[in-house]
Each structure stands twice: as structure tokens, then as C-alpha cells.
Amino acid sequence: MKYLAEYRSHETVSQLTRAIKSIITQPWRIMEVCGGQTHSIIKHGIDQLLPDQIDLIHGPGCPVCVTPLAYIDKALAIAAQPGVIFCSFGDMLRVPGSTQDLLGIKAQGADVRIVYSPMDALDIAQRNPEKQIVFFGVGFETTAPTTALAAYQAKQLMLKNFSLLICHVRVPPIMEALLNSPNHQVQGFLGAGHVCTIMGYHEYRPISEQHHVPIVITGFEPVDILQGLYLCIKQLEEKRWQVENQYRRVVKEQGNQPAQQLMRRVFKVVDRNWRGLGEIPSSGLALSSEYNEWNAELRFAVSTINPQEPKNCRSGEILQGLLKPSQCAEFANACTPEQPLGATMVSSEGACAAYYRYRRAQHG
């Protein structure tokens, strides 16, 4: 497989590991922002190849994990209504709401369908004019453009039976929030490669300059991650803080401009609650008022649903990198993928799920 095999090459991995060892002189704490990177690091055991001085902190970049309980409950309330076809990305289906999950409600008769793109949901709406089709739009700037496109097309077509429950989130504000938190331990970032494919990386320069942290936009394969770490550690060792782009085969500085234009047209920036982290200013995207007619929260009157997050789940600390999954008392005890206390145990990109799946035997 071209563009894959060479980024998983054992030989290149060994060379990069040696290169990192040759430049490191002191301990560094580096956060990988994106859940896809966390999954890859744990799956390929990259953290075990690194010198002990490097502490990888798993960041808040798993869209499933940070979607607040209120939105899962809103999704459940909408999906349970008669005549609704509720469309979602697959890995949202097992995320626990206050009392159940989308899979459970499907088993009781709700029409919940997995789609691969919001455009599939739009297609379902056109083929089922007698039903109400709702798409659950979650994720970072990576998935937001296709949601924007679906909303835009629904408006163009004046589709009356389609609406969107939107809980999209933005990466730069959460990085700022982490750096502004008094407990933060992050000294460098691996930036989220796929988000930057859309948004470019000019947004990160002020963050890097203001907080004196290197940010290296990084891909997802073992070689990508090790190259990203090498560049980040080199900056730290040389006391530099810049934005660098490891993922050059995909990411351009200005990103995908048509996608950005479409997002600006359809969405507005809002404050957003993050599961386990609380409200982060300007960190969310919601449908602009021009799209009220396609806003599922308004159509199904679920805006007032606002449940309390469970207390014993420490996913907030996990998502800030203050706690490793295996350090949580509930990990693999009260909290398992079958009965998760928080979303970090559900999504394949969640740090707790990645530890459970690949590391459990080592933690007993």
C-alpha cells in the first residue's frame, strides 16, 4: 500500500527512535492533541520505544469523548420520537447518555442508522419524504465541512424533513484553554494532522508564540508520530517554539479554503461544554440563525435537556493529560467498554479504550 507501508517501516521507526535518543538531554512532556494519534501510539507501542525522559500526554482530541452528556441525551430524545430516522457516525452509538445509549434505544425500536457521511443522511431524507431525518453532527474541524455541506444543500433543496443536531468543536480554543489552566504540564504539542488539512496551521502561530510551546503538525502513522516527536524535542532542546509541519504530504499552511468558506457560511462560533472539561469559550460550532429551520434542537424542542455529568468519571483529568487511564481507580473495574463511565472508554480513539484494548494485561 503506497503512502502507508513506508510510514510503518520497522527500519525507519528504529532510525527515528535512535535519532530521538541522540538529541534528548532532559525530560519533556508532550501532548498529542488528536485521539487518532493516541490510538496509533498505543496500538503500535510507540511510547514503549521512546526514552524514559519523554512523557506522552494524551490530549482531548477524540470527538466522541468530548461530546457532552447533554448532547447524547438530546440525541436519544430525538431518536426515540416516532417517525424519526436518526443518522450518526458509528462510534457515537455506544456512548452512554444519562440512562442508555443509541444502540440500546435502537434495540427498543428506534430507527438509528450508521452513516459514513452526512451526505448519506441527506440522501435518506430525499428517499423518505414521510419521515424526519436527523443527522448528529459531531467532531472537530475534520468532519465539520461535510456537515456544513449537508446543511447548505438541505437549504438549497428546501428539504423540510431533514435537520441537524450539531455539536462540532474547534481545536485551537481547547489548546489555549489547556495552556491557560494553572495545572497544565504540557511543554510541546503534536498538532492534529487531519484538522489542519482543513484549517491549515496559521491559527497556531499566536498560541505557540504567546505560550512559548512548540507545535508540530503531525500525521498518524508510526513514522509520522516519531518524526513529529523528533521535531518537537529538537525545538525544546534548542529552546525554540515554532509551528512546524511534519505532515507536509497532506497539510498546507492555508488548509482547504473552500471548506473553510462553507463552514463560515453555515456555522457560527459559540461557547461549548466539553465532556469532563466544562465550558470553553469560542470552542464550538453551531448552525447560524439562517439555518434555524434545519436546527434539530429547535425542531424537536430539546434545547432544555441539561443533565449532570457522573461524578466518579475522571475523564476530564484524562483529557487534560493530568491522569493516565491506568491510574484511575475505576479503570477496568467499574469502567469497561461494556459499561463505560465516560466516553473516553467508548470510542476507539479514547485514551481509556486504547489502554483497555492494548494494555490491560499489563495492568492486571
Binding site: 496500538k43 470527538p63 487531519h194 484494548r357 492494548y358
Partner: protein, 348 residues
């Protein structure tokens, strides 16, 4: 009262059956272990083999059943009829049996085209004939429109096991070689691409095939087979995890040794699936003593369904107990774990 014997609490988290209970992962395992096994409780069922091996008047017989609910019913590389025959033949073959007779029960939804039914039955007959077995009894039911998915098929099968053949997870030993006969993940991906109408160019066809001839070839060549498992739902990873757990041994496999066709690998990358957990319908894992490795690979390579046979790992030790580890492409070992249910496509 009989129901008082159900004294262990059923730790099912769901009050209703969810799709994941049929996904070949941990939820299905829990359903079998906590509900089905305790109720039917007997020492043949508790061996958890692909077929039950029973002795009748001194003759060792393998007996099995399986239901087929694939959607779409016609897919690249086969159809529900071929699948229903091959799947049951393979379950028999995994105990070393020579299949003899099959049954066929049809549950058909009102409105299903007779022409499609004819194609399916002809496909069943052709597959059975090729395997040298007969479909000798069956049943037909029709359900209301919207009460089924077109057609469901159940087949049961019976076969004869040579008295010298003893294939079971209890025979897996430290040092055994772990061999697979084929590349993995073709069936699940072929079905998924067809079902979801994914429109990217590919040449992926299901590996759906009758493996009984290949297994008989190994037996006739005198290969000492310790264990066989067909790698259907849950794929290679789930099959190995069940065997590691049943034998309480540590199985180690090498990721780079596992053959995956390039198109299949690409589809998995795009959809965010791990091919190790994707269903196969013409793929088994074989455990033989290390000294038999070369001979077994040679026999397999002579058969069309074993041409890509390869050694993927070995049974290491009794510690750590009952787990499977995989040596990743980076050279680091990680643990393979059962998934909860079916894999769900990732967001991005």
C-alpha cells in the same frame, strides 16, 4: 421448580438484545456464558467447539448448525445459499469430520422473488454437490412482509470423524505452530462495501469456500492436527483469543506475517476497521506441533484454498495465561482483546 436452578445472576448490562450480542465479541461471549450455557448445561456444549462431537454406537459423529442472515443475499464471491452450505461444512471440518448430510430450513419474507430463491437453492445444491454431501431434509416458513430481511437460511450438518482424529482446543500445546490458510478480512469487507454502496474501485470478493477438502487433505497426509478454528465473525483476533482463553496458554503472532490483500487493507484504512477483527468465510487457523510446520504448509500450498498459507505465530508458554499478543510492525508487542461487539466505523 426447574427455573430455581438459575441461581446465578445474569450480569447483562442491556435489558434487550442489541446487535452487538451477535457480533462475535465480548457481549456475545457473555450472552453464551451467562445465559445459554447455564440453561442448556451439558458437557458436550461446554466444550465450545465449532461442532459437537458425539459417539453413537461406537461411531464418532460431528454435528453442527448455523443460521445465515447475510445482507445483501447476493454478494461478490457468493450468495446466502453458498454461504449456508460452506459455513456448516466448515464447522464440521473444524472437528476433522468428513461431512455427510445437511439440512436446509428457509424462513422467507412475503414478496421475496421466486427467481432469487431458485438461484439461491441452485447455488446450495452446486456447493453441496462439489463437497460430496447431500441436503436431505428441511423446512420452509414464510413470514409477513417487513418481518424478515428477504430470506434467512438455517443449515445443520452431520459428518463422520475418524476414530484416530482428535482435534480440540484442549490439545493445543506450548510450542505449537499457528498457521492460517489464507489472507484475511475479505468476506467482511466485500459484504460491507456491497451493503453500504461504497463507490470506490476495488476487486474485493468474499473468500466464501468449503474448507472440508483442505482439512481432509491434511488428515490424509498424516499431519498431526492439534486444533482448528474457522475465523468467521470476530475474525482472526477473536478466534485466537477464544483459543488462548480455552487452552489457558499464551499465543504470540507476528503482524507483518499476516497476509492481507492490498485492496482489503486500503478499505480497512478508509473505514477505520482493524482487519484482524473482520469476518472470513474461507479461512482457518491451524495448530500443529512445530515439527509438523513444514509438512503442513506443504500440504496446504498444494490446495487452491491453501495457496497463501503461512506461519503467523506460535504458542509460547503458560504465562501470561490465556492471552494473545501481537508483534506490531514497530517491533513492540501488544495484547489483542475481544471487542465488545461488532466494530463500528470511526468518525474520522
Amino acid at each position: 421448580m426447574a427455573d430455581l436452578e438459575l441461581n446465578c445472576p445474569l450480569p447483562l448490562q442491556y435489558e434487550h438484545i442489541v446487535m452487538a450480542h451477535g457480533g462475535g465479541g465480548r457481549l456475545m461471549q457473555q450472552l453464551l456464558d451467562n445465559l445459554v450455557q447455564p440453561i442448556f448445561n451439558n458437557n458436550i456444549l461446554s466444550q465450545k467447539q465449532d461442532s459437537a462431537v458425539i459417539t453413537v454406537n461406537g461411531v464418532k459423529l460431528a454435528f453442527t448448525t448455523d443460521s445465515y442472515v447475510v445482507k445483501p443475499v447476493f454478494f461478490p464471491g457468493g450468495d446466502i445459499g453458498k454461504l449456508a452450505v460452506c459455513g456448516t461444512l466448515n464447522d464440521l471440518a473444524m472437528s476433522g469430520a468428513k461431512p455427510l448430510y445437511l439440512t436446509c430450513s428457509l424462513i422467507i419474507e412475503e414478496g421475496f422473488p421466486i427467481e432469487d430463491l431458485k438461484r439461491i437453492l441452485q447455488s446450495m445444491q452446486a456447493t453441496a454437490q462439489q463437497a460430496g454431501v447431500q441436503i436431505v431434509t428441511g423446512d420452509t416458513k414464510v413470514v409477513d412482509h417487513d418481518s424478515g430481511d428477504g430470506i434467512y437460511i438455517n443449515t445443520a450438518g452431520i459428518g463422520i470423524v475418524d476414530e484416530n482424529v482428535n482435534i480440540s482446543s484442549s490439545r493445543i500445546e506450548i510450542g505449537d505452530s499457528v498457521i492460517i490458510n489464507s489472507d484475511i478480512a475479505r468476506h467482511g469487507i466485500a459484504i460491507m462495501l456491497e451493503r453500504e454502496g461504497m463507490d470506490f474501485e476495488h476487486n474485493i470478493v468474499s473468500d466464501c469456500a468449503d474448507l472440508s477438502g483442505l482439512v481432509q487433505g491434511l488428515i490424509q497426509a498424516g499431519i498431526e492436527i492439534h486444533c482448528l478454528r474457522d475465523l468467521t465473525r470476530g475474525g482472526l483476533a477473536s478466534g485466537l483469543i477464544e483459543l488462548a482463553s480455552a487452552s489457558s496458554l499464551h499465543i504470540e503472532i507476528d503482524e507483518s506475517a499476516i497476509p492481507i490483500l492490498s485492496d482489503v487493507g486500503s478499505a480497512c484504512e478508509i473505514l477505520g476497521f482493524d482487519p484482524l477483527y473482520i469476518a472470513n468465510e474461507g479461512c482457518f487457523v491451524l495448530f500443529v506441533p512445530a515439527s509438523e510446520t513444514e509438512a503442513a504448509l506443504k500440504v496446504l500450498a498444494h490446495h487452491a484454498l491453501g495457496r497463501r498459507a503461512v506461519l503467523v505465530g506460535k504458542v509460547k508458554s503458560a504465562y501470561p495465561k490465556g492471552i494473545v499478543t501481537i508483534k506490531s510492525v514497530t517491533g513492540v508487542n501488544r495484547v489483542l482483546d475481544l471487542l465488545s461487539g461488532e466494530q463500528l466505523p470511526r468518525i474520522c
